[in-house]
């Protein structure tokens, strides 16, 4: 371990060096000048500093203050060499972060005992912070694993829903990427954007509960059939709600709210404006745009231009204007996403 000794009195310096070098595994690094001692300490990682109080240029208290300003040296033990009677100096040194004192003239027994104590303290602090770092690393890995499994569950659940849905897997991926894109452009937090990407694919999971003769009916739904169709929002919410996972909580909200309209004319609750959660307003734009530009058994795909005009015309009616603007602002990325996830 490196013991730095800063003292302008040569006999003290040499005596302390001789004593430190008798301790196993310790080497003394000597500075007669406090300024060069400080420079060295700020650039290196000493294990213990022993510093005299009265020195030209920088005295011991100023020295300690400068060392403590370095965040790495917050816990570094520092011993100050003072005479017994210098009480006010001792108080000031304690205030600046000295751990203990060495009396002048130096006494071999006292010196070795204090230095050993300080080095033992240093070792246990290092062991502790090393252990803390290892634990933090393990926790991080475990959490990442949990997240991965959670995502996998979500993907599999979305895949189950796809089996019953005439809409394609590519639609789900495009819609999720559009949703993430809108959230990013709106300046929402990074982890919310990420979660949107993973949660949005489940927006139609409630269609698992829609009877086949209605879900797969080729023609137009009757009013009664449409009422049943609308229930997929609430069914999706029931499947996903009350999860402890953030992604599933968000997915539940998206499932419930993605058919709400900004002017209050949507379903299931007819919420309007900001009463519709942000994720619902975002999902509405992403879902409708992709539905319009995709071919379905009952309709042809709209052109990109027609679809964007539709968004613009329904800005503030069906859609939150902020979400529409965010989406149209990122038009070239929208085109990239369409290319990446084509129905092929």
């Amino acid at each position: 371990m490196n013991v730095v000794i800063v003292d302008d009195t040569p006999t003290n310096l040499q005596l302390m060096r001789a004593l430190v070098q008798r301790l196993e595994g310790c080497q003394a690094i000597l500075f007669a000048d406090s300024g060069s001692g400080l420079t060295w300490c700020l650039e290196h990682d000493p294990d213990l500093i022993i510093v005299d109080y009265m020195m030209p240029n920088l005295n011991g208290i100023e020295f300690i203050r400068h060392v403590r300003r370095e965040p790495r040296h917050e816990d570094l033990p520092i011993l100050m060499v003072t005479a017994d009677h210098e009480k006010s100096v001792r108080y000031a040194a304690l205030e600046e972060g000295a751990a203990d004192f060495l009396n002048k003239p130096l006494d071999r027994m006292e010196f070795l005992a204090r230095v050993k104590n300080m080095l033992a303290l240093r070792r246990s602090r290092q062991a502790l912070s090393c252990r803390a770092a290892t634990l933090a690393e393990e926790v991080k890995r475990a959490v990442a694993e949990i997240h991965d499994r959670e995502r996998e569950t979500i993907v599999r659940l979305a895949r189950a829903a796809e089996c019953r849905d005439p809409e394609t897997g590519a639609h789900i991926l495009r819609m999720a990427h559009y949703a993430q894109l809108i959230a990013a452009r709106m300046g929402l937090p990074q982890d919310f954007q990420e979660t949107m990407l993973h949660a949005a694919p489940m927006h139609d999971v409630g269609k698992l509960g829609t009877p086949d003769h209605i879900l797969l009916k080729p023609g137009r739904h009757t009013a009664a059939e449409f009422e049943i169709m609308k229930q997929h929002t609430g069914i999706g919410y029931e499947i996903l709600r009350e999860s402890s996972s953030h992604a599933l909580q968000l997915a539940a909200s998206i499932a419930l709210h993605h058919h709400e309209k900004f002017d209050g004319s949507g379903y299931p609750h007819g919420l309007a404006g900001e009463a519709i959660p942000t994720e619902g307003r975002i999902a509405a734009v992403a879902d409708v745009f992709d539905a319009l530009t995709s071919e379905r058994p009952y309709k042809k795909a709209w052109s990109l231009e027609d679809a964007s005009t539709y968004l613009r015309e329904n800005r503030g009616a069906h859609f939150d204007p902020v979400c529409v603007d965010a989406f149209l602002d990122m038009w070239s990325t929208v085109l990239d996403i369409r290319r990446r996830f084509s129905d092929g």
Partner: protein
């Protein structure tokens, strides 16, 4: 001058846990460095530089204290006090005595270096 011993060999060895080798390390350092310290003190006094004179006398006193060199501690301790009070003339008056004591102490400590 009195017959007071120049340094307290007993107290020194006590402090060093009877370690003669350590005592020799310190004696050698004193012999090598103290003449330089006292000339720094002399220069500071000649320049009228009170802060430097305080530090130099403090440093000589610290070295002397390691050896329990009571006569030298007495003289340079008083010089330090005088310098702190800005009384450099008083301090300068003791300079010759301090130098005499240091020279004598150096002679004695040299003998320790040749001790078995």
């Amino acid at each position: 001058m009195s017959n007071e011993p120049l340094f307290d060999r007993r107290a020194l060895l006590d402090n060093l846990g009877e370690d003669v080798e350590l005592m020799q390390v310190m004696a050698q350092t004193f012999v090598d460095d103290t003449p330089r310290l006292i000339s720094e003190l002399r220069d500071a006094l000649a320049r009228g530089d009170a802060p430097d004179a305080v530090r130099a006398s403090h440093s000589v006193k610290g070295s002397a204290a390691n050896f329990g060199a009571a006569p030298l501690i007495g003289v340079v301790g008083a010089m330090e006090q005088a310098c702190r009070a800005g009384n450099l003339a008083t301090a300068s008056g003791s300079l010759t005595e301090a130098e005499r004591l240091i020279t004598a102490l150096v002679v004695e400590l040299r003998q320790e270096l040749h001790a078995p």
